[in-house]
C-alpha cells in the first residue's frame, strides 16, 4: 500500500533534480492516466450489479458526506477567521 506513496516521493526527488529541464509533457501524462483510471473505475462500477442497483443510495450517501465535510471545514475556517481578525474584516 505504501509503495504508491514511496513512488510519489521518489518522483519528487527526481523532479527536483531535473528542475532545469522542461518537463511540460508530464502534465499531459498525468491527465491521460487520470482518464484511464476513471475509465477503469467506471468499468468496475458498471460491471457490478449491486452498485448499479444501489446507485441512488450511493449518491445520497455521497451528498451527506459532502455536506458534512464541507460544513465542518467552513466552521473551522470561521473559528480561524474570528481568531485572526476579530470583527475587523480582513487583510491577508
Amino acid at each position: 500500500m505504501f509503495t504508491i506513496i514511496g513512488l510519489m516521493l521518489t518522483g519528487m526527488l527526481l523532479g527536483y533534480f531535473l528542475r532545469k529541464q522542461n518537463l511540460g509533457k508530464i502534465h499531459k501524462a498525468i491527465t491521460v492516466l487520470i482518464w484511464l483510471l476513471l475509465f477503469l473505475l467506471g468499468i468496475e462500477v458498471g460491471g457490478n450489479e449491486q452498485i448499479v442497483k444501489g446507485l441512488h443510495t450511493i449518491g445520497l450517501e455521497a451528498l451527506i458526506l459532502t455536506i458534512g465535510g464541507t460544513l465542518g471545514s467552513v466552521i473551522a475556517a470561521w473559528i480561524l477567521w474570528k481568531a485572526l481578525y476579530g470583527q475587523k474584516g480582513g487583510q491577508a
Binding site: L14, I30, L40, G42, E44, A62, L65, S73, I75
Partner: protein, 201 residues
C-alpha cells in the same frame, strides 16, 4: 471546468462499457492494471511537484498566521465526516473519514479508495468530492458572507489552488490568492497520505 467534464465523461463511458459488458470487469480486477496505472500516476505527480520550485518560492509572501488554514480545513473536514458517521451507521468511521479526506480532489481520492476499499466506496468518494467542488463554486459568496472570507478557501479544499481559485478570488478578494494557492497545495499533498492512512486502519 472542461477538464472536469472530460474526466466525468471517461467515468461514464467506463460505466456504460461495464453495464453492456463490452469489457469484463473481472479482467480489470484480476490484471491489477489500475494498480500499475496508479503507481505511474503518483510517480508523475511527484515529478511535477518536485519540478516546480517556483510555487514554493511564492509562499514566502504569505502571512505566517494563515499557515494554520490548511490544518483547520483538514481537521474541520474530518470532524464533519466523523459526525456524518452518526447518520450513515452502516459505514465504518474510517470509510467516512477516507471519503472526507479527498477534500474535493475527486480523481485521485476515488482512484485510491477503489484500489484499497473497492469500487463501491470509490464511487461514493468520486461523487462526494465532485459535489464538494460544485458546492464551493455555487455557494462561495454565501459561505464568505456567513463564515468569513476564509470559508470559501476551506470549502474548496484541495481545489482552492486551481478549479475554485477564480471564484475564491472574486468572493474573498485578490489579497487571498496566495493563501488560497498555499492552502490548496498543502491539502492536495495531504490527500494520498490521509486516504492511505484511513484505508489501512
Amino acid at each position: 471546468m472542461k477538464g472536469s467534464l472530460i474526466i466525468v465523461g471517461f467515468f461514464i463511458a467506463g460505466t456504460l462499457c461495464g453495464v453492456c459488458q463490452l469489457i469484463p470487469a473481472d479482467f480489470i480486477t484480476d490484471s491489477r492494471i489500475s494498480f500499475y496505472a496508479l503507481c505511474a500516476l503518483m510517480f508523475c505527480v511527484g515529478i511535477s511537484i518536485g519540478n516546480d520550485p517556483q510555487t514554493l518560492k511564492n509562499f514566502r509572501s504569505l502571512n505566517p498566521r494563515l499557515v494554520f488554514l490548511p490544518v483547520m480545513t483538514i481537521l474541520g473536514t474530518l470532524a464533519g465526516s466523523a459526525a456524518v458517521n452518526l447518520i450513515l451507521t452502516h459505514r465504518s468511521l474510517t470509510d467516512c473519514l477516507a471519503v472526507g479526506s479527498g477534500f474535493g480532489y475527486y480523481s485521485l481520492s476515488s482512484i485510491f479508495i477503489t484500489e484499497y476499499k473497492g469500487a463501491e466506496l470509490g464511487t461514493i468518494a468520486l461523487l462526494a468530492n465532485i459535489s464538494r467542488e460544485i458546492l464551493t463554486l455555487l455557494a462561495a459568496p454565501l459561505l464568505a458572507h456567513w463564515f468569513g472570507k476564509l470559508a470559501p478557501i476551506s470549502a474548496g479544499g484541495a481545489t482552492s489552488m486551481d478549479t475554485t481559485l477564480p471564484i475564491i478570488t472574486r468572493t474573498s478578494g485578490q489579497q487571498f490568492v496566495v493563501v488560497s494557492i498555499f492552502h490548496g497545495f498543502i491539502v492536495d499533498f495531504s490527500v494520498p497520505f490521509l486516504v492511505t492512512l484511513f484505508c489501512s486502519l
